[in-house]
């Protein structure tokens, strides 16, 4: 009898536990109450002091307003956090996981969503979702993968090119012009080495720029069309690689290294995924004051950065409070300040209450930052399968000598 009761209790407990314990974002007051006193471990890339400082600011804000303690776990690679959650699942650690919140997008998100490693859907139930610009910004798809509420957007990124006006007099708004310039000025351009995120972004940007019909890129890659569609990209790389920095025999490891090269006057042109990065870097003495930015005439690709909550997080309520705060006008305006981060907002600024709109109007975007109008059209990210194929192919063609 006793055994039976115990078994029943265990069974019932096992079934009921997730449902009982997981907070429901639709009942926001209850979420805030549960969040009070929780500690949220936010796994986010730690390679940038400015981002680290912003996350620290968020920590101060949420602890003061909601009693949530935020701990920034500084990653060298977002994938570390993903593998962490995966290993926890493998080890049967379905509660009390190490990761409460991840700064994520693209392939990492696709991988976690596919493996059911995420809590949700929650994002569209967050109170601040009402201000998000769901029409004009790509916040409901992440590299063409439907988000479905499993991650909350908090920043917009768009490709721009940084160039040193001391060496390059006018912008180079197309792949052809970049190639011509690089031929005339060998050794003055490079891009981070794929599979680095920014490096693959460069490949994607050039693919989108050079492909005959970008429409085909929104569908998964197929063996039948891959060679045809990507041929212009490989032709372009074939032409430009011998004119690159170090003749393409070495590449900077990532974006910040590339900025360092520009600072050392080793290169004059570099790609960036943040329109205000140049201004921020100039203010931080990390780039010469003569650096400006431009976009391509056909437009450049853009996407959103998100935060997601692992299924086994020990502080889901706290994590949702942080995600909601990240989408608040106050946090968004702070993040857009080039002195802070200079990230694009995910909100629809025009439809904000006047006092919140004023926060954005008051921002000085910085000398090297293009205005929203000048940034022009945002092109969609290709389906992730393209990026994977291209990155692998690049590895074979240029990654090994």
């Amino acid at each position: 009898m006793k055994h039976l009761a115990l078994a029943a209790a265990l069974l019932f407990g096992a079934l009921a536990y997730p449902a009982l314990s997981d907070p429901n974002p639709a009942e926001w007051e209850a979420v805030e109450a549960e969040a009070h006193g929780q500690t949220v471990f936010w796994h986010a890339w730690g390679g940038s002091p400015t981002t680290n400082a912003f996350i620290e600011w968020v920590g101060d804000q949420v602890s003061g307003r909601f009693g949530v303690t935020l701990e920034h776990v500084k990653l060298t690679d977002t994938a570390d956090a993903v593998t962490r959650v995966l290993s926890e699942k493998q080890a049967g650690k379905d509660t009390d996981g190490a990761v409460d919140l991840i700064w994520i997008n693209g392939a990492n998100f696709a991988s976690m969503k596919e493996n059911s490693l995420l809590f949700g859907p929650f994002a569209e139930d967050l109170p601040n979702w009402q201000y998000v610009d769901v029409e004009g910004k790509t916040v409901r798809t992440d590299f063409t993968v439907p988000v479905e509420g499993y991650e909350a957007p908090w920043a917009m990124a768009q490709v721009v090119f940084m160039y040193d006006t001391a060496d390059i007099p006018t912008p180079l708004p197309s792949a052809a012009e970049i190639l011509d310039w690089s031929k005339a000025n060998p050794g003055r351009f490079t891009y981070p080495q794929p599979p680095d995120f920014l490096g693959t972004t460069f490949l994607k940007q050039m693919l989108v720029e050079l492909v005959d019909d970008p429409e085909v890129l929104s569908r998964p890659v197929s063996d039948t069309n891959y060679a045809d569609v990507t041929a212009p990209l490989w032709d372009f790389l074939e032409d430009i690689t011998p004119t690159l920095w170090r003749q393409g025999r070495a590449y900077p490891a990532n974006g910040p290294r590339q900025i360092q090269l520009m600072n050392d006057d080793e290169i004059d042109l570099a790609i960036s995924f943040s329109p205000s990065e140049a201004s921020t870097a100039i203010a931080n003495y990390e780039l010469p004051a003569t650096v400006r930015t431009f976009v391509l005439d056909k437009g450049t690709i853009g996407n959103a950065s998100f935060v997601a909550i692992p299924y086994n997080s020990s502080a889901k309520a706290g994590a949702m409070v942080v995600a909601n705060f990240l989408m608040s006008p106050k946090a968004q305006a702070h993040a857009q300040d080039p002195e802070v981060l200079g990230y694009g907002t995910v909100l629809h600024v025009e439809s904000l209450p006047p006092e919140d709109r004023a926060r954005f109007d008051a921002l000085d975007l910085g000398i090297a930052t293009l205005s929203p109008q000048m940034l022009g059209d945002v092109q969609d990210e290709p389906h992730p399968s393209w990026m994977t194929r291209i990155a692998e192919d690049w590895q074979v063609r240029y990654g090994v000598q």
């Binding site: 730690g46 990653l75 290993s87 025999r249 490891a253």
Partner: protein
Amino acid sequence: MAQSRRFYRLALFPALTVLVLLGPVAAGLWGTVLPAFGHFPAAGVSGPSLDAFRDLFNWPGFGPAMRLSVTTGLAAAILSLTITALILAGWSGTRGFRILERLLSPFLSVPHAAAAFGLAFLIAPSGWIARLFSPWLTGWDRPPDLLILNDPWGIVLTLGMVMKEMPFLLLMSIAALGQIDGRRRMALSQSMGYGRMSAWMFAVFPAVYARIRLPVLVVLTWSMSVVDVAVILGPSTPPTLSVQIVRWMSDPDLAFRLQAAAAALVQLALVIGAVGLWFLGEKLVARLACLRIEAGHRGHHDRPLRLAGFATGTAISLALLLGLLSLAIWSVAGFWSFPDLVPDQLTARNWVRHYSSSQDAFFETMLIAITAVAIGLILTIGCLETEHRRNLRLTQRGMWLIYLPLIVPQTAFLPGLQTLLLGFGLDMGRAPVVTAHLVFVLPYLRLSLDGPWQAWDTRQATVAAALGASHDRVLWRIRLPMLLAPLLTAIAVGLAVSVGQYLPTLLVGGGRIETLTTEAIALAAGGDRRAIGVFGLMQTAAALLPFALALPALVWRNRKGLLHG
């Protein structure tokens, strides 16, 4: 009865030590073998299968990456040992040697990543040396497009490793010299007409080498499998095998973990092969030396070689020093571009910006280091005392056990260890990290203490016992106080080792434990030289602090008998 109880209590220390040293390594290797042969439930595969190896062999960079690991590793080990021998043969016992020793020993505790960054900034085409001569001499207004850093042959990587490993071997050799009567061997050979270097090489070096053989192997395997230095200085198209393992390990696509595990086993095999090759090389060198001795060469014309040895030693310490100096300047630099020798302006904002996080990390680092060293010290002294009381000598095999964690490539067993700890629910938090650090701290504690402990005159213990002092009283009142200086050196070495640990902290700590090293390398990934400057300096300070305190000189300032050299 009392006798047997003491027996058990003392046997506890060696047993515990072996467990602490080998448990994590063995478990970690097991955690690597399973996925390598296709057993990895998390990725939805269960083996056995050889797919992972097939994928690995099909990776176009496999051959070059393997070749790079072997060539850079062997070259670094050979060069480090050769330079060490040149310096010792040419200069040991001279004033110049003492100067070199003073110059080099502090750098032992400079973290590898910080040293590598310093070197990178020195020799890059836009680096300090180029700036010194530009544009007035070279005519360069812009840095030349030369592939110096990250060269595909790994030359700079090799130099970077030599720069850090040569001082290690030199100091290990100096310790070994204290155990053999080098001076008299020299005098004897020189009186038979041998030149200084020949005398040292033929009469002293074999005895020194026998004592530093294991440290040399540590240098060899470390050089073959290093990650942080190779990321900074090594080639990237493709990188060395170890770097590629860590890259695959962090790929969101789990299938790559299998490939990484397979590569880790290949890495292990390479290391074992290289060690075998090394043993053959030892025999060959010994045979050549014998031939030379039989021929009776006296080797009088060694002046150029002597100078070369000294010049190399000086160049290495200069490079380390300038590298650190450049980090210091970057940490307070405003805008600083080519070809300016110094920044346009100095600013404290880099330090202000990193103040709070670096302070937290500093305390975390020290807490972990002190705990690990304290536990390690208890175990090590426990073992040494057990061996003393039961009159055991550490056999060659025992020495291998102690060195094992240093010889097995970290990339081969740490990821497996993470999975294991997770399974026990022991992940996260300080305790597992301390345990992981202990694996690497213990061997160095033992290495630092073994010599002085054995060299201690046991007649002191006989006299004390004859005066009625028990074993424990002898240990606490006589032996430990007399060995205070080597004890503190061992503590300083242990702290430096713990401070420098990257992979164990990151993997076993689940990313939640932030030490100066994990912070510095996270920032290094971003390449921000100012941040690297701040954390690199803090890290160096944390490692150097214990050495700088020079406590023995303070405690024993009135005891001449304990203040020799």
